[in-house]
């Protein structure tokens, strides 16, 4: 049976996971205008943007032959929890014969989880499952480590686009990995490749760092967020996101007593501003603002799908945060109507604002006009 999944970078991790269990995988194409159009056409108007893009992405995958789609469920007030169900109904009404497997949390419906997990593991033994999971876990960590380095390097590359060319090559190399040793070898090679990219030397003091936070899908999938990290990189800005796949795996799949507590701590920090669980990654995102501030970041870009409840709450907290941390935050709503030109202006002005503030700090209060 051909199996597919939502396109949320880095897709190679899901692809390897399914392939290692012996599935034939259909990788959905990177979302483009066509994907948006398809999704918007068949979705309820007031659904949030990720639902629409993912629906479009499913249709494209089905047309490429996918018969089963693996996706994650959710809980809490964020609407993402019922999206799998909604997608499956819309697709059925459109006459597509496809099975959507929604993986929810292990508890409370343990039996349901096992039944669905078996579909994914394809009858593999418990040992094989453990092995595959370890490889995929290491792969996601390696990819995220490399990407974090690229997010820093982009700001200083001499020839625009060099880093991204290397990044594409690196991802292709990871496409065939089967063991942890292979992952490690490729990661080492990747650093070697990046070392050869010519970069401009910039003083530590004048480096500009911006944290990108927001709803997980629009933060991680660059094709829907106007390639925000590349845009910032071109303007000479280092970036880091609040969401990485390896962090998600660490926090959601590894049992609490074994995992790295980084995300747990960040969520605790966020509770200062949002006391209750309001769904999505709202609390985590606010925690990240504090986290980035403590690490000396110069600003935050907050991405919010139009109509996203948790991030809408966050947006209303932003003025308090700007004041408390003296940290500039730019909120960008994203949907199919998003015009790149307007946001380009906002982003450029935001970077100028950060530079101005920084210069002021470096010159002890004396500023130039710009």
């Amino acid at each position: 049976m051909k199996i597919s999944f939502p396109h949320m970078s880095p897709v190679i991790v899901y692809k390897r996971l399914l392939e290692m269990f012996g599935h034939e995988v259909v990788v959905p194409p990177t979302p483009t205008q066509k994907t948006f159009d398809l999704g918007v056409k068949h979705s309820p108007e007031f659904a949030c943007f990720p639902l629409k893009v993912i629906l479009g992405s499913y249709i494209e995958a089905i047309e490429m032959g996918a018969q089963m789609i693996m996706t994650s469920g959710g809980h809490g007030p964020c609407r993402a929890g019922y999206y799998g169900e909604l997608h499956s109904r819309i697709l059925k009404n459109l006459g597509y014969d496809v099975e959507i497997v929604i993986i929810d949390a292990i508890f409370p419906k343990f039996n349901d989880f096992i039944k669905k997990a078996r579909k994914i593991t394809n009858g593999a033994s418990i040992f094989k499952v453990a092995k595959v999971f370890k490889v995929v876990y290491n792969l996601s960590k390696a990819i995220d480590r490399i990407e974090k380095r690229i997010e820093k390097m982009r700001a200083y590359e001499v020839n625009e686009g060099d880093c991204d060319k290397v990044w594409d090559k690196i991802l292709k190399k990871f496409d065939k990995v089967n063991t942890i040793a292979e992952v490690e070898a490729i990661e080492k090679e990747a650093y070697g490749m990046l070392d050869n990219v010519p970069v401009v030397k910039v003083e530590e003091d004048s480096k500009i760092r911006v944290g990108v936070i927001g709803e997980i899908y629009v933060v991680m999938e660059s094709s829907v967020n106007m390639e925000i990290e590349k845009t910032l990189g071109k303007l000479g800005v280092e970036t880091e996101r609040s969401q990485y796949l390896s962090d998600w795996i660490e926090h959601n799949i590894i049992p609490k007593f074994m995992r790295d507590k980084k995300i747990d701590n960040i969520i605790d920090e966020g509770k200062e501003f949002i006391e209750i669980e309001i769904g999505g990654h709202a609390v985590e995102n606010v925690g990240y603002i504090k986290h980035f501030k403590e690490r000396g970041f110069d600003g935050i870009i907050h991405l919010m799908p139009f109509g996203c409840l948790p991030e809408l709450v966050n947006q209303s907290i932003v003025p308090t945060i700007i004041e408390k941390f003296d940290l500039p935050v730019l909120t960008i709503p994203i949907d199919e109507q998003t015009g790149k030109a307007n946001n380009q202006t906002r982003i450029e002005a935001f970077v100028d604002l950060i530079k101005g503030k920084k210069e002021l700090r470096l010159n002890n209060g004396k500023s130039k006009i710009s």
Binding site: T32, E160, S316, E348, S367
Partner: protein, 333 residues
């Protein structure tokens, strides 16, 4: 020989060109409606400029801003291509150094810029709603058959207050018609409109921001006395209107160009006034190389593509010799 700096602001509604000399004096200013053809109006403006400036002026730097900044910037060889927000703030800071809040209302967008210690600390920009911009007034002036130039003066003659729903242009218009039928005069309706526009502007853009004086109001709409009065009423404080309120973006980018060339010491990229004689042909096409189907705008000069915009992947933009590399090295200094 006198050194000068050119600033060009290519907005949605108007094209502004100014020249400043070494001491920031504005020696030439040109404000014209683009009528949907910014390329043409820049050409006409530059021709005008060539006619009027003395021969001993040497152009040391050129800056462009506004929504057409990239395209025009590439065409004429600008040294600085800056967003409108930074450009406006730079100009205002020159005239009112202790400014804290800038209101800017243009044809298609409006902005609020908050400054602290001469640095921009916050801003917001409205581009989706016409109810807070000049186009809205333009449209209403046509409907009421009152020339836009007389709008402000007429508003000040209003005797009674009338509240018009300003949330959305469509609602504003139907509310206006209703109020007209109730027998309010044109002046009162126009005054109501000005107040509605300001209310909408402050609610939309000023939300969650502490607006502190000194206030500066600029952009084409600042010519309108009715709006000016409505602003003073809304914020309860005097509003400063700079002398060159309608070309502030152009002045700002000229100042930035001056700073840039002084800092780098490099010669200007300006292609000279002869660019006005060259025939640039803008056109657009849909690139079908992937399913993004980007609408690419290209500019051809003598049959050769000299500029391209709008492609997501950068294939077309990069194909016409971008100078991104040079910029990266320069900005790292």
């Amino acid at each position: 020989m006198k050194e000068a700096y050119i600033g060009i602001d290519i907005g949605s509604v108007s094209t502004n060109i100014i020249i400043i000399d070494q001491d920031f004096n504005v020696v030439f200013d040109y404000y014209a409606r683009s009528n949907g053809q910014p390329l043409n109006s820049v050409k006409i403006g530059l021709r005008e400029l060539r006619k009027r400036i003395p021969g001993d002026i040497k152009v040391r730097g050129v800056g462009t801003t506004g929504s057409g900044r990239q395209l025009i910037g590439t065409m004429i060889g600008a040294d600085v291509v800056k967003n409108e927000i930074t450009a406006h703030a730079a100009a205002t800071l020159h005239y009112v150094p202790d400014v804290k809040t800038i209101f800017e209302i243009g044809g298609q967008d409006s902005k609020i810029i908050i400054l602290k210690d001469q640095v921009v600390v916050d801003f917001s920009m409205n581009t989706v709603c016409a109810a807070g911009t000049g186009s809205f007034l333009d449209h209403q002036s046509e409907r009421l058959d009152v020339p836009i130039e007389d709008f402000g003066d007429l508003a000040l003659t209003a005797e009674r207050n009338v509240r018009i729903a300003g949330r959305c242009t469509v609602f504003a218009e139907s509310d206006m018609i209703a109020k007209q039928q109730f027998g309010f005069s044109k002046a009162e309706i126009i005054n109501g409109l000005c107040e509605a526009l300001v209310r909408n502007y402050i609610n939309n853009l000023g939300r969650g921001k502490a607006l502190q004086p000194p206030f500066v109001f600029q952009g084409g709409v600042a010519a309108n006395k009715g709006i000016r009065a409505a602003f003073e009423k809304e914020v309860g404080h005097k509003i400063i209107i700079p002398q060159y309120f309608n070309v502030m973006g152009a002045i700002g980018v000229a100042i930035l160009a001056k700073e840039y060339v002084e800092e780098t010491g490099e010669p200007s990229n300006f292609k000279g006034f002869d660019v006005t004689d060259v025939d640039f042909v803008p056109s657009s096409f849909e690139c079908n190389d992937c399913s993004n189907v980007c609408e690419v705008i290209k500019v051809e000069m003598n049959g050769k593509m000299v500029a391209a915009l709008g492609d997501k992947c950068g294939k077309w933009t990069n194909s016409c010799g971008s100078n991104a590399k040079r910029k990266r090295v320069a900005s790292a200094k």
